[in-house]
Amino acid sequence: MQPTSHSFPANARAGLADPVLQTALGLARSGFPQRRQEAIARLPEFEELREQGRAIKDHVLAHLDFYLERYEQNVTAAGGQVHWARNAEEARAAILGICRAADARIVTKGKSMVAEEIALNDHLEANGITPVETDLGEYIIQLRHEPPSHIIAPAIHLMKEQVADAFRAAHTELDPARPLTDPRALCDEARTVLRPRFLAADVGITGANFLVAETGSSIIVTNEGNGDLTQILPRVHIVITGIEKIVPTLEDAATLLRLLARSATGQEFSSYTTLSTGPRRAGDLDGPAEYHVVLLDNGRSALLGGEFQDMLRCLRCAACLNHCPVYAAVGGHAYGWVYPGPMGAVLTPALVGIAEAGHLPNASTFCGRCESVCPVKIPLPKMMRHWREREFAQRLSPPVYRTGLRLWAWVAQQPALYHAFAGITSRVLGWAGLYRGRFRSLPLASGWTAVRDLPAPQGRSFHSLWAEQQRRAGRSR
């Protein structure tokens, strides 16, 4: 999809004014964090598992070339094929090539953020192949022709009424008078409508949560079972995923799996964790005859060895989204591309450029919750700061902001001037705000006071209090 991250402020305002979105986000705000907290409280080892999960990912990234080659060897040995794609275009071409060779008309898809990243559906449709999203949330947004707003709950911005409208518009073969008033009926209808498509599909495309170098396996973690029907029924199974999903062994996968479901949905374990290794074997009654893995780089390898390498540890669990006050206020579409929330604020500039996505790392309160809940301890706020620095260094931030920062930097480098200025300002503001204790508006500070009051300074600056305390301590010694 074409990014609209450059219009984040306008997107965010639209999100704040959207009553449906605000109701839907209200459900998410309380649900996910509470369930995660309950799951973690039951596992005393969780903190140590986070530390180990981080270490496993760091170890893989430091030896990514070795593990990718070992993984490829084992996929090949099991009868599968690995396709390497430097960018989205190469990945789309590889997938289209496999689909064409299979004479595919209908392609079922399990939920894959990488498929969203490379805009796979548009490409397949443009080439006469019908992609069918089978994850319930993905199916809903496919019917509505919109991108996902959350990386594990794509339709989280909708309420059941919008889903019912989408189903009535799409499922015209069904009785228009049918009641579609509760989630159960909607879920059943999607199941009924999608079942024949699962059976008719020529190719099934899934993502991967992990790739195991030891065995050449891809692992998907789902709750609906749609990913499994997608990959065992058609004649061809294609896995599309990023190069950073590798883990060395099944033991390493187990550690990360223990972190994933608890961080994502607060489940002890997702309903279905499935390991796929090559195509069907001699004697098997089902399973795909062909197994392909498309490994996408698309800017990932360039993050290695630099200040954004830690981002490649990401498990795509969405805990950072679920705990972010900004995401919870504006929703995922405001971020304007595939990856929203804190992980998107770091990853999107890396994948589509800081010129397009400069607003995202700025749309943060730096409250630090994202880092504190990340199962692999990615320092998200720190990396957002790195993007802000790059944005500043590349002269991409607005002129007023840059001038203000330069002015402040200059004053801050002259201690005498700084103290004089701070002292006078705080005294004047303290006196002017004596009555109310806060300001509703102030000259030059409308950016702040337009949406909240500014508390009036109360008394003296920290510097002068500190100096006085030091003096007193010196006397009493």
Binding site: F32, H83, Q267, T274, D297
Partner: protein
């Protein structure tokens, strides 16, 4: 595409400020893979004796809406299956995995049950399969594909019944990996085509975060847990 492969791998080495790994380093990483060293395994299930482990398995499975019936021996399977299907108001028809481990079930004790052996077809409503292990930690079943255990049985029918022997219940996923590795034959791929870890029936929370069972896979998952010693064949 090999140009893309070379570019990606050399790009990785360049970004990491090094060339190819030294033979020593390669040997060390190869050893790391071969050793299958376990990371931290939660104490929850590891310290339990077999009886307590089975109880934990059942408790964890029931927590995620799996139903469990504990019976004494394989001979009781037909009666339990008939009881379950009647209680759930389901037709007395099922497709049974063609695996030899299920050959000895005396279905003729319940002549009203219609049994077909094979993979699942679109119209099959109930399946019955064996499994490789039960993992106590989270009440998870481990199933491996093979000629006798087609994967479609685990996903197409609305109701999935799984036969599990108490002796098959292990503590952790890692114990499950060891079982899988023990079955691998020389020269064959490391794992069967499909390994399913199944924890409860299919579910979704995609609409208003309200959990619905039976999104695309089975609405019901029923475990028939047999308390006798496991069969000699694993």
């Amino acid at each position: 595409m090999s140009a893309a492969r070379d570019d990606i791998l050399s790009g990785i080495r360049r970004a990491l400020w090094r060339g190819s790994l030294s033979p020593d380093k390669t040997a060390e990483l190869t050893e790391r893979i071969a050793a299958h060293r376990r990371n931290l395994v939660p104490a929850r299930a590891a310290a339990l004796d077999p009886a307590a482990r089975a109880d934990l398995f059942v408790a964890m499975a029931e927590e995620v809406q799996t139903s469990v019936a504990r019976i004494a021996s394989d001979a009781d399977i037909p009666a339990e299956v008939a009881r379950y299907l009647a209680a759930e108001n389901l037709p007395a028809e099922l497709v049974v995995a063609p695996d030899p481990s299920l050959d000895a079930i005396p279905w003729d004790m319940r002549p009203l049950l219609q049994i077909r052996r094979g993979g699942a077809e679109a119209q099959d409503a109930v399946s019955l399969t064996p499994c490789l292990a039960g993992i106590a930690e989270t009440g998870t079943l481990m199933l491996a594909s093979g000629p006798g255990t087609p994967t479609t049985l685990n996903f197409l029918p609305d109701t999935h019944i799984v036969v599990l022997h108490a002796g098959q219940i292990v503590a952790s996923y890692e114990d499950g990996w060891d079982l899988l590795r023990a079955r691998t034959q020389d020269g064959a791929p490391a794992l069967p085509r499909t390994v399913n870890l199944i924890t409860g029936p299919s579910r979704t929370g995609d609409i208003e975060q309200r959990i619905q069972l039976g999104a695309h896979g089975p609405r019901r998952l029923h475990i028939v847990l047999i308390e006798d010693a496991p069969p000699a064949k694993g």
